[in-house]
């Protein structure tokens, strides 16, 4: 077998089982960085051996065994220093059982996800940590997706892993009483990956845009691990509906196209269908939540591909539900716009006015929405002033140009 074939065999295993192997190793040692190091040593060993011996039948098991041996070697070195014969014994026994039982190893990725989104971990590190440990994405790529210097991102990741090891953050699924809160942290970290990638402009080939796709991959993993949690399906449905419209958001010249002007022919049917499937799966549990509501709003928008119209009454109603469950600034602005689009711009503008001023000073969508509602009411000079604020607050050149044109 030649080298490039080995390389591609290894890459396939990395994509498919990196997270599973890291999770399995780290769940036993409590040391994520050590698990990753052991696995990368195993990859190096595979690069040497597989071209000679051929790719093994169960490459994951082979890698896991190699990584585990490496881990045991380094643990033994540490323990010799500490002179703990009891621990050495334990490791030796484990090495024995592993040799016979490792061919099918349990999937510990859910525990790993909970560790990555543990409250003791810095919020800014949670998403990068998931992308690296569960999907095996390297720090440099994560850094460029988050527009952070590679060195700064590496340090952030190292700090987080040291914290996991030194604070002995447990690799376990949370107790029922803390389940919802802890799961919400996992959702937030995955959704943060999506929104960070989403905000990238028309350049769909950028690593920044790729982040949105990685977020969907992460969420698909989460859905397989916790299929009985409706919000998991809701989150995936939300991201899939948004992702379906990615191409339609910009013209071929890179100009921004607002949702209600997008050509529905450009929307991805397979992604919309997958989104709808997950919304249905979620609905079966009869437990509404923030992400299901947001996905349902996107689902109503998606129906325009079939009916040619947008049911703004339905959207306004869903936003009423959403602001009760999760009164975030985005939901409050969305509700105001929906009210206006449903035929009542006066109430919509009042709803915008009810949002505390200190929450909207630098919130760009608020000013864009305010401009739009004032424009609907014929208050054109006020609308221009609001759009000016929106222009000053966006970092998306396409959106800036679009708003400049609306000002005229």
């Amino acid at each position: 077998m030649n080298e490039s074939a080995t390389q591609s065999a290894i890459e396939t295993v990395v994509r498919q089982s990196y997270g599973q192997i890291v999770a399995y190793l780290a769940a036993r040692s409590g040391d994520v960085a050590g698990a990753e190091d052991a696995l990368s040593d195993a990859f190096l060993a595979a690069l040497r051996r597989w071209p000679v011996d051929g790719v093994p039948d169960k490459p994951e098991a082979w890698l896991l065994r190699a990584a585990r041996n490496r881990q045991i070697d380094s643990a033994r070195r540490d323990q010799v220093r500490l002179r703990s014969s009891e621990y050495l014994q334990q490791i030796a026994e484990e090495a024995q059982t592993m040799a016979t039982t490792i061919d099918s190893f349990p999937d510990e990725r859910l525990k790993l996800l909970f560790v990555c989104a543990h409250p003791a971990i810095d919020v800014a590190a949670r998403t990068p940590l998931m992308l690296q440990t569960v999907l095996g994405i390297d720090a440099a790529r994560i850094a460029s997706a988050f527009l952070v210097a590679p060195k700064a991102m590496s340090q952030r990741l190292v700090r987080a892993k040291t914290k996991i090891r030194d604070a002995t953050i447990p690799f376990r699924v949370p107790e029922p009483q803390e389940w919802s809160e802890r799961l919400a942290f996992v959702f937030d970290a995955i959704y943060a990956a999506y929104t960070t990638g989403w905000e990238s402009g028309s350049d769909s080939g950028s690593t920044h845009a790729a982040l949105a796709e990685e977020a969907i991959v992460l969420c698909r993993v989460l859905v397989t691990l916790v299929p009985s949690e409706p919000e998991t399906h809701g989150l995936l449905a939300l991201m899939l509906h948004c992702q379906a419209r990615r191409k339609a958001r910009h013209s071929s010249e890179g100009r921004f196209i607002p949702l209600d002007r997008q050509d529905t022919e450009q929307w991805s049917r397979p992604l919309m269908e997958e989104a709808e499937e997950h919304l249905h799966l979620a609905a079966a549990f009869d437990r509404m939540g923030r992400f299901q509501l947001e996905a349902a709003i996107q689902s109503v928008h998606a129906r325009r591909a079939v009916t040619g119209e947008t049911d703004w009454q339905a959207i306004a109603l869903l936003y009423e539900g959403l602001v009760r469950v999760a009164p975030g600034i985005g939901a409050l602005v969305g509700r105001a716009v929906a009210l206006a689009q449903a035929g009542d711009p006066v109430t919509g503008l009042k709803a915008l006015g009810d949002i505390p001023a200190d929450r909207v000073t630098t919130y760009q969508p608020y000013w864009a929405a305010r401009g739009h509602l004032l424009h609907l009411l014929g208050r054109n000079s006020d609308a221009r002033a609001a759009w000016q604020r929106a222009i000053g607050l966006t970092d998306d050149p396409a959106l800036r140009q679009y708003l400049m044109e609306r000002i005229g």
């Binding site: 527009l147 970092d395 400049m404």
Partner: protein, 123 residues
């Protein structure tokens, strides 16, 4: 500090009969937004480097030379001194500036006020 660097083309954009008005209305919108956020301490836009002078004092005599300072592709076009909670917030403001979409914005921290003692002068 947000430091706006630009090439000759970026400077020319500011006075271009077609691109100039668009540039300025975008940039003024940005300035208004960042000022409304209450983070700006000071700022200025600079004239083209060709209009500048470079001063050196050597061996007691001063030399004044016409700009630009050096034959570099980019020169300083302006700056904003802002006070924000973190580097991330400063980077966000840098990204929002229309200058960043065609030229570049450097983000630098201000040195902390240190233990700078006045040199002891001979009596």
């Amino acid at each position: 500090m947000l430091i706006f660097h630009g090439s000759k083309a970026d400077f020319d954009r500011r006075t271009d009969p077609k691109k100039g008005p668009v540039f300025w209305s975008e940039f003024m919108a940005y300035l208004q937004a960042i000022q409304n956020a209450g983070v700006v301490i000071a700022g200025a836009g600079l004239e083209v480097p060709e209009n500048g002078k470079i001063v050196r004092v050597r061996d007691g005599s001063s030399q004044v030379q016409d700009g630009p300072y050096a034959e570099t592709k980019e020169s300083l076009a302006g700056f904003l001194l802002i006070e924000v909670a973190s580097l991330e917030v400063a980077l966000d403001w840098a990204k929002k500036s229309p200058w960043a979409t065609h030229a570049s914005v450097e983000v630098r921290a201000i040195m902390p006020p240190g233990d700078v003692r006045a040199p002891i002068l001979p009596a």
